[in-house]
Point group: C2
Chain length 378, copies 2
């Protein structure tokens, strides 16, 4: 009897679980939002993940339900659990990923390093936070933000009035998250896998470069990372996974400060863009690891295959024609580039694919990955 | 517009093309012999590959037709070509892979190193060959043999009488292939990819260990291979690919003699068991390379990621229960093992999966791969 994993959401993260599922011999089924999405090859169902009946019907024939995204509502998750469906990550962990205010609260309870923060319900409270934190801060909507959406730097107490107004009408809300504007030297990300039985595997911490709030590039492992930094990042990742009871892959996005402290920026409880390098650069990719973790199978080795891997996102894609029309040129010029595409139509700023390159010299590897990815843009 | 590849045959080779197809963004369709085969996830059609109409219908919506095996009859291939379908490898190349007598004849014409051989039509001719070659020889049926089937060592002129009798009734036949019993020190295999445009990529030559005529283990690259041996093997592989006009992956199985000569044993014009190590051990796997080659896209780098990769086949599988029931144990004990399964029911001698391990010390890598694979047997 093969293991059967049901993935809610038909985006590129679900798509990238297909390859390791086929190789291992794990049956993978996907509940896609619509026809023709990235994970279309394994899309056995199409339907609304906010509808409990749809999700329950999808879950009937699988051993475990997992996710391409964190947006499945808590009432749907509760209905699954009540019906006896195994769900990883579980509703309690996902609740933390679904609400940035809850996340900050839980990180504080776990004693994790993080920026100064507060829940603010109006301009007065925002003004007080600004006054205490140098006059500038980051305001975030607790829910629904991703890839830089729902995030804004403000230096004025009225800089988030539109969001306060919108939230006042929101049954869930009332408060915004405000955070200290961290003076970071770079951004890092720590990938961790955790099984329901409690086994944990940590990948080496990586450096991520964001552009316009979107992950653009990842250097793995993080260059010039001291053994101490690597250990601290892995410990923080493991402590968060354990503290929140995360099952499957967890990505902890981090700020590194000039005095080599790390502060938690965001969490993602699924395979994450900052871990795509593992597809070609690690013994076990984050997608295989996620499948093993949610099936409560022993985890694979999380070590790199080569000294360096660089991942560069293909953001937007060509103005004319599809990604694959550039294959000829990109493959001819960059035979070492591993090209991954998501079956999505190009659109400005959209993640439509990525390129991984592995090798011995970071400078060469980074050059190759950037050059190859650039051939898919205009 | 995505590239679309149609694969005839739904076995494990077609299955293993799915992962790179999904990652690249190549649409893959499979014409499977029956329901529930290894490549079932991409099996868009089920039907008889010996029926031209079935195959033509399947070919209608793809850019190129390629194969999981070499058994598609020449009249079906001719019908495809006549209908304007792109077929790689093409009928002329496949004709050589389909008939071992034709293969020996063509290798002789190309001046390739090979064992002494002859076409024999009866016991008298066999007796003459035996007399000239030390009294023992290998007799092979020109068609239909694989994994040691249709191969027999004889030392008696009447040792192949049953095959002569069977062939007499075969419209295609009449002759058997008889070959010198080569006193080899080991068996090697050379993987080569060639595109319709003529680009060639050669992998490092590997050592293969056969058991009962079936590939059991591959050490990549071949241990203690001199630079000369590596060069000669690559040159022979490239010359065969070019000489026969092979498109896609070609595997050249070789004997190495005690004086470090190599002799061609068999050819396979498709991804081959001796190249499975590339899935986890090379920059470009043979399955991705095959897709690139048949689409006439530039080839990927064929270099190893780690000093050593060892592939061990899972032959037969457990006597009770399926392969996946052993995951728990195998993954716990061997976190570095890459497990590949074919979705096939265990049966004595059947190839049901394989394990790849990569690393720096050959002894450790081989131990790990063998130990992990053995956990799937009784």
């Amino acid at each position: 009897m093969a293991y059967r994993v049901g993935v809610i959401g038909g985006g590129q993260l679900a798509r990238m679980m297909i390859a390791p599922a086929v190789e291992l011999g794990v049956e993978i089924r996907v509940l896609a939002e619509q026809e023709g999405m990235s994970a279309t090859l394994a899309a056995t169902s199409v339907g609304d993940y906010r509808d409990a009946e749809t999700v329950l019907a999808f879950a009937r024939d699988v051993d475990v339900i997992t996710f391409d995204h964190e947006h499945v509502p808590q009432d749907v998750l509760a209905a699954l659990v009540e019906a006896g469906v195994t769900v990883h990550p579980g509703p309690a962990a996902l609740a933390v990923a679904q609400d940035k205010l809850v996340m900050r609260q839980r990180m504080a309870e776990l004693g994790m390093p993080q920026p100064e923060w507060a829940a603010v319900t109006g301009p007065d409270e925002l003004a007080a936070f600004l006054a205490e934190n140098g006059g500038r801060a980051v305001v975030k909507t607790p829910r629904g933000g991703y890839d830089g959406k729902g995030v804004r730097v403000v230096s004025d107490a009225h800089g988030a009035d539109d969001w306060f107004a919108a939230l006042a009408e929101d049954a869930n809300g009332g408060a915004l998250l405000v955070e200290e504007l961290v003076d970071f030297t770079r951004e890092l990300a720590q990938q961790v896998a955790r099984t329901p039985s409690g086994q944990i595997a940590t990948y080496p911490v990586v450096e991520t470069e964001q552009r316009d709030g979107v992950c653009a590039e990842v250097l793995a492992p993080a260059p010039s990372a001291s053994a101490r930094l690597t250990d601290v990042a892995a410990s923080v990742g493991a402590a968060v996974a354990e503290g929140l009871g995360v099952t499957g892959m967890l990505a902890v996005e981090l700020f590194e400060t000039s005095d080599e402290r790390i502060l938690i920026n965001e969490l993602a409880m699924r395979p994450h863009n900052s871990g795509h390098w593992t597809q070609d650069g690690a013994v076990t990719s984050q997608f295989e690891q996620h499948l093993r973790a949610v099936l409560d199978l022993p985890l694979g080795q999380a070590t790199p295959l080569q000294p360096w891997t660089v991942m560069v996102n293909i953001l937007g894609g060509p103005a004319e024609g599809g990604i694959t029309e550039r294959f000829e040129n990109a493959m001819a010029q960059h035979p070492a580039a591993k090209i991954h595409t998501y079956g999505k139509d190009p659109r400005p700023g959209r993640k439509v694919g990525h390129v991984n390159v592995t090798g011995v010299e970071l400078e060469d590897v980074a050059y190759e990955a950037r050059a190859a990815a650039s051939l898919f843009l205009d």
